[in-house]
């Protein structure tokens, strides 16, 4: 394929896209309003992103960069209006500098604000040492809060069902088989990950069972991943066929 053929395909696709939209608007299938233009924009961006499946091209690159820029801008605005304004600006800055303010400033907020600002001082050679105070606070608090909770929630609570009795009465045969399978899976996978003992004889056989359990879990994860990625495609095609082209009701 010639090098400039990509350019003509791109121009042709854009021409087709414009023609379809003119037809949809003139025939009244898309409203001549912000909603209508929003749907056209969404359809165009979706098609530009999926054009990468054919090959890398200018339209994909433009939309990819647009996505990064819009996401960042949106995050900044949301963070200001949802977090910085109600939690810092309104209770601290406004009462400090506005004579019309009815509430007294919450001076306690100065400490976390300063710690936050120190984090940004990493960009300064002379003052970057101040950022260590913030990191020390974050690491210390994070470790103190996380370690007990993580041990409790992800180790102790997970061990409990693994120690569930196979026959404690009142259970079906299937739940007992499940419990046995879990026990076999946990033991064999743990043995597979013991690398200080050579995997020979009985240890080798049990670790092979562990590999089978791991393979089945990788297969389940892959199957779910296929389902997830496909759902995204289905959702986008539903949008194109339903909201844009109006083929689906």
């Amino acid at each position: 394929m010639r090098k400039d053929s990509g350019f003509f395909i791109l121009v042709g696709a854009m021409g087709l896209f414009v023609s379809i939209n003119i037809f949809l608007m003139t025939s009244g299938k898309l409203p001549f309003s912000f909603d209508g233009f929003g749907i056209i924009l969404g359809a165009g961006l979706t098609l530009a992103i999926y054009s990468f499946l054919y090959k890398d091209n200018a339209a994909f690159k433009i939309v990819e960069n647009l996505y990064v820029g819009v996401s960042l801008g949106y995050t900044i605005i949301i963070t200001w209006f949802n977090f910085l304004k109600p939690d810092l600006y309104d209770p601290l800055i406004i009462p400090m500098f506005s004579k019309a303010a009815t509430k007294s400033p919450q001076y306690a907020l100065i400490i976390p604000s300063l710690l936050g600002l120190f984090m940004l001082l990493r960009f300064s050679r002379r003052l970057s040492w101040l950022s260590r105070w913030t990191f020390a606070f974050v690491v210390g608090l994070g470790a103190g809060v996380s370690i007990p909770r993580v041990i409790s929630a992800f180790i102790l609570e997970q061990i409990k069902p693994s120690l569930h009795p196979v026959f404690s009465g009142g259970e079906t045969i299937f739940s007992s088989i499940n419990t046995l399978l879990i026990m076999l899976g946990v033991i064999s996978v743990l043995i597979y990950f013991i690398f200080s003992v050579e995997h020979k004889g009985a240890i080798g056989k049990v670790s092979k069972i562990g590999i089978w359990f791991l393979m089945i879990s990788f297969g389940a994860s892959f199957g779910y991943t296929v389902m997830g990625r496909l759902s995204l495609l289905i959702g986008r095609i539903q949008f194109l066929l339903k909201d844009w082209l109006g083929i689906l009701q």
């Binding site: 499946l53 054919y54 996401s71 949106y74 995050t75 949301i78 963070t79 949802n82 977090f83 109600p86 939690d87 209770p91 809060v145 996380s146 909770r149 993580v150 409790s152 929630a153 992800f154 609570e157 997970q158 409990k160 069902p161 879990i182 879990s217 389940a220 994860s221 779910y224 991943t225 296929v226 389902m227 997830g228 496909l230 759902s231 995204l232 495609l233 289905i234 959702g235 986008r236 095609i237 539903q238 066929l241 083929i247 689906l248």
Partner: protein, 271 residues
């Protein structure tokens, strides 16, 4: 045989796209039986008395909208039809627009009033520390709601001071927030927790069902379709199950075909 192993991947993309479009356009019914974890969430909501407080954490952004938004809408239908008080919040900065759209559109269908029947707090960073803050005092974690109202003045929050008073919390997660809610919220403040997650995360969440740290789980578009069917509000997730099933069959055929060709070509090389 070698040329089958070097097939242009764009042909596969085209086959998948055509299969999705055809199975969306052609209407045929497929049964969508509810799985045990989806049924458990449904039954939990059914068991809550009128006026109970349900918190929904919309922890996703537009990248996961196709899987989690239908789940959110179906779950909101169930809550509002049962006259439960709904409180929304999110850990994701990209979520407020989607969450607000879902809550207001479903609430309007049931003539629910903002502030009296439901509230939306919006986004706040902090993750684990935010959950701990909510567990101690909901009003200090969210002094104002998404619209700038003072949260202490919202009638919907009457009787709720912290996460301890929340009757059920449902996390719609595209990341690691389910684990965060379990470790820093559910374990400490003892509320009932259910979750909906993207399909990619599904297998990692099953151990939490077995340990009863989650009361139920909706996994991916399939989970959303199950819930839509349970609450009898069939929409995008249910219609998405047709292409999902058709394409899964095609992928299985591709996998079998690829393996057969691979082994035949390998045998031809050794012969």
């Amino acid at each position: 045989m070698e040329r089958f192993l070097r097939i242009d991947r764009r042909i596969i993309f085209a086959i998948i796209t055509v299969a999705v479009i055809v199975s969306l356009v052609l209407r045929f019914e497929l049964p969508i039986p509810a799985s045990e974890p989806a049924q458990a969430i449904y039954e939990k909501i059914e068991s809550l008395p009128k006026g109970s407080h349900v918190m929904i954490a919309f922890d996703y952004d537009p990248a996961s909208k196709e899987e989690l938004q239908p789940m959110a809408v179906a779950f909101l239908h169930h809550c509002f039809s049962r006259d439960l008080k709904v409180i929304g919040m999110t850990h994701y900065p990209g979520a407020p627009g989607l969450a607000e759209q879902a809550i207001t559109s479903v609430a309007n269908q049931y003539q629910k009033k903002y502030g009296d029947d439901y509230a939306f707090f919006g986004y706040k960073p902090g993750s684990a520390s935010l959950i701990i803050n909510m567990g101690e005092n909901l009003y200090s974690a969210f002094p104002k709601d998404y619209y700038g109202n003072d949260t202490t003045t919202l009638p919907v929050l009457q009787g709720v001071d912290s996460l301890r008073e929340i009757n059920y919390l449902f996390d719609l997660a595209a990341g690691t927030t389910i684990e965060t809610w379990i470790a820093f919220g559910k374990e400490k403040y003892k509320f009932e927790l259910g979750a909906g997650c993207t399909a990619v995360m599904g297998p990692d969440m099953y151990p939490f069902l077995q340990s009863k740290q989650l009361t139920g789980l909706l996994g991916g578009l399939k989970g959303a379709a199950e819930y839509e069917a349970l609450v009898n509000k069939k929409a995008n997730a249910v219609s998405g199950m047709r292409p999902q099933s058709v394409v899964h069959v095609i992928i299985i055929i591709f996998v079998i075909f690829g393996n057969v060709i691979y082994f035949i070509s390998k045998r031809a090389v050794h012969a």
